[in-house]
């Protein structure tokens, strides 16, 4: 073995060890459980899988998770963009406080977020009593689910859109004006298109997170099958009821949704970065 080869080896060995370690770690922590989940979910055969996911309680739970996530994504797309716009274009002393508020949901454990909502709207609170007597309860009802999701996912669209907005040159608006465009055309043709990919990426992230949200919803939704039981909580219920096969099957559906969302979010973020 000559000197050059041994030098190459001296560097190659640690690199090899590092790469091997990383691959091993990822396999152990991420890939293995996913594979086990897939195997377990399908191990009792397609019929068992189908009967587990077509159980009416499971269907209702998945459907509830999907549509509440959809609403959360749509609301955030609009409200989050408005918040980002305000943060970027409105130079007031309180700006930092508002920015900190936006990030607060990331810092608060989601179970605590659920508890906050119950404290505010729960049947024990004055506001909650009023709402229940008015026939529009929030805690342990669907509005509570939405509220919790909106709380937990608030930062996603804001933080996705903000950097793109910051890059926009206000002169582009002015250019549109001097070229004869009014406020509306300027908004729809000049200001929104460049930020749309970022808005969509933030919305997809919101959706994915909402479908997977557990902590706050376990606290706030009341977990009533067919009515307020969301998919992640349903899965926990199946595990606790000694039905790991059913839990794995419904988990598989959520996994497929999440994996389907990932590349979409990545693609949108890439488009946003390029534009």
């Amino acid at each position: 073995m000559n000197a050059a080869t041994s030098a190459r080896l001296r560097y190659a060995l640690p690199a090899l060890a590092l790469r091997g370690g990383v691959v091993g770690w990822l396999s152990l922590i991420v890939a293995l459980p996913v594979v086990v989940l897939i195997v377990r979910g399908l191990s009792d055969g397609p019929a068992a899988f189908w009967s587990a996911v077509s159980d009416p309680a499971a269907v209702d739970a998945i459907w509830l998770s999907l549509w509440t996530a959809g609403i959360a994504a749509a609301v955030n797309a609009v409200v989050g963009t408005a918040i980002a716009w305000t943060l970027v274009r409105w130079d007031v002393p309180g700006r930092r406080l508002i920015a900190a508020l936006v990030d607060l949901p990331l810092a608060i454990p989601t179970l605590v977020a659920g508890v906050l909502i119950i404290a505010l709207f729960g049947p024990q609170s004055p506001l909650g009593k009023l709402l229940v007597s008015g026939g529009m309860p929030i805690a342990f009802a669907r509005p509570g689910i939405l509220l919790a999701l909106l709380f937990v996912t608030l930062p996603f669209v804001v933080r996705a859109v903000e950097p793109v907005l910051e890059e926009l040159d206000p002169a582009e608006e002015e250019a549109a004006f001097t070229l004869g465009a009014g406020q509306f055309l300027t908004l729809t043709r000049v200001l929104l298109p460049p930020i749309l990919p970022a808005v969509a990426a933030g919305a997809v992230q919101t959706f994915a997170r909402s479908v997977a949200e557990f902590g706050s919803l376990a606290a706030v939704s009341g977990n009533i099958p067919h009515r307020t039981l969301v998919a992640p909580v349903y899965i926990l219920g199946e595990v606790e009821a000694g039905n790991p096969g059913g839990a794995a099957s419904v988990s598989l559906v959520l996994l497929a949704l999440a994996l389907g969302m990932q590349p979409l979010a990545a693609a949108l973020a890439r488009r946003g970065g390029r534009a």
């Binding site: 040159d169 002169a171 002015e174 250019a175 549109a176 004006f177 001097t178 465009a181 043709r189 534009a275």
Partner: protein, 354 residues
């Protein structure tokens, strides 16, 4: 289209950035607003375009008051320093924007875009994204976009400020050529006097919110109206002097001036090319530095009598340079100078020059 601006005033907070500016521009003229950065030129331009509202004063386009009109209604083309191209649109879409918001038929849009791409030397780049173009190309797209709706007036705000020196040179020549072909009344803002004098028919000098002087490049160079203009335009020396009859004395050096009160202290403004230096051991100056810049040589010296620096430029092969070297004594002759009494005028003008 002719433009008339009357008594424009604009303040940002407590700073009055435009202070009672009035001027008139004839149809088809190419005019430069020249002055130091932060002097209010861009604000004047933006008020003409309707991008900024004047605190008081009036803007007339084609004999019609436009102060109440939004920017989109003024039919004014505007070119921004940093291009402000719509990043998500192709070059062709950018150029067509002003046509499509006016609902010009598609075929006509395409034709106009093709013509402009051709005229601007951008043929074949219509499908590119702005990010794929060089700075010079982007500014030409911005110009094409501004010209597409056939504006009656073209305003350019430091249009060549963001490109490198060589491209700037090229764009200048090119703007002048374009103007000679299209004849759209045009105003451009610049802090670069070379740029202003190279392409404008007329130059308006604006400093600290005021119009200091307007005139052809030659008028401004040869006959500066204020001390500020004299100091701002060209490479100048400003020397302390005392008036005596029709002479102003700067220590042992003197120059002919007129119209100044006898005995007054004066600022004497001398262009670097209105001077002669030659080697003379009994002379009033000492050479401190000799620099060759291309075809010219810059000589910097120190005037012992008045404790002030003075510099001059000579052609590389000039006989005046014979024997001139660092440390030698020189005689100085001022061929042409202007002087302003120190006591006269406000501090702003005296202190305003760089």
């Amino acid at each position: 289209m002719g433009i008339r601006v009357e008594n424009l005033v604009k303040s940002f907070g407590r700073t009055r950035v435009v202070d009672d500016v009035s001027f008139e521009i004839r149809p088809g003229e190419l005019v430069a607003l020249l002055g130091p950065s932060g002097g209010g030129k861009s604000t004047v331009l933006r008020m003409i375009a309707g991008l900024e509202a004047a605190d008081s004063g009036q803007v007339w386009l084609d004999g019609e008051r436009v102060d109440h009109l939004h920017a989109r209604e003024r039919q004014v083309g505007f070119v921004f320093q940093h291009y402000a191209l719509f990043r998500h649109m192709s070059v062709a879409e950018n150029i067509a924007f002003g046509l499509s918001v006016r609902d010009v038929p598609r075929a006509e849009q395409r034709e106009r875009v093709d013509t402009l791409l051709e005229v601007m030397g951008l043929r074949g780049l219509g499908d590119r994204a702005p990010a794929q173009l060089s700075g010079g190309q982007r500014q030409r797209v911005a110009l094409a976009r501004a010209l597409a709706p056939r504006p009656k007036l073209l305003l350019l705000d430091e249009p060549f400020g963001a490109v490198d020196a060589k491209v700037r040179e090229e764009l200048r020549r090119w703007l002048r050529k374009l103007h000679d072909e299209v004849h759209t009344t045009s105003i451009f803002v610049t802090h670069d006097q070379e740029e202003a004098f190279a392409i404008a028919d007329r130059v308006l000098i604006i400093s600290a919110g005021r119009l200091e002087q307007e005139g052809s490049p030659v008028q401004i160079l040869d006959d500066p109206a204020t001390e500020f203009v004299a100091r701002f335009v060209g490479d100048v020396n400003v020397l302390p002097g005392r008036v005596s009859g029709d002479q102003v004395h700067i220590g042992r050096v003197s120059a002919t001036v007129s119209g100044l009160p006898d005995g007054a202290d004066a600022h004497v403004v001398v262009r670097s090319y209105d001077l002669k230096f030659w080697r003379e051991d009994a002379g009033p100056g000492t050479v401190k530095r000799v620099t060759t810049i291309g075809d010219r040589v810059r000589v910097e010296a120190w005037l012992d009598d008045v404790q002030a620096p003075i510099f001059a430029q000579f052609p590389r092969r000039s006989s005046l340079l014979t024997g001139i070297e660092v440390g030698c004594r020189i005689a100085i002759e001022i061929a042409h100078a202007r002087a302003w009494p120190v006591a006269d005028g406000d501090a702003r003008r005296l202190g305003g020059a760089a």
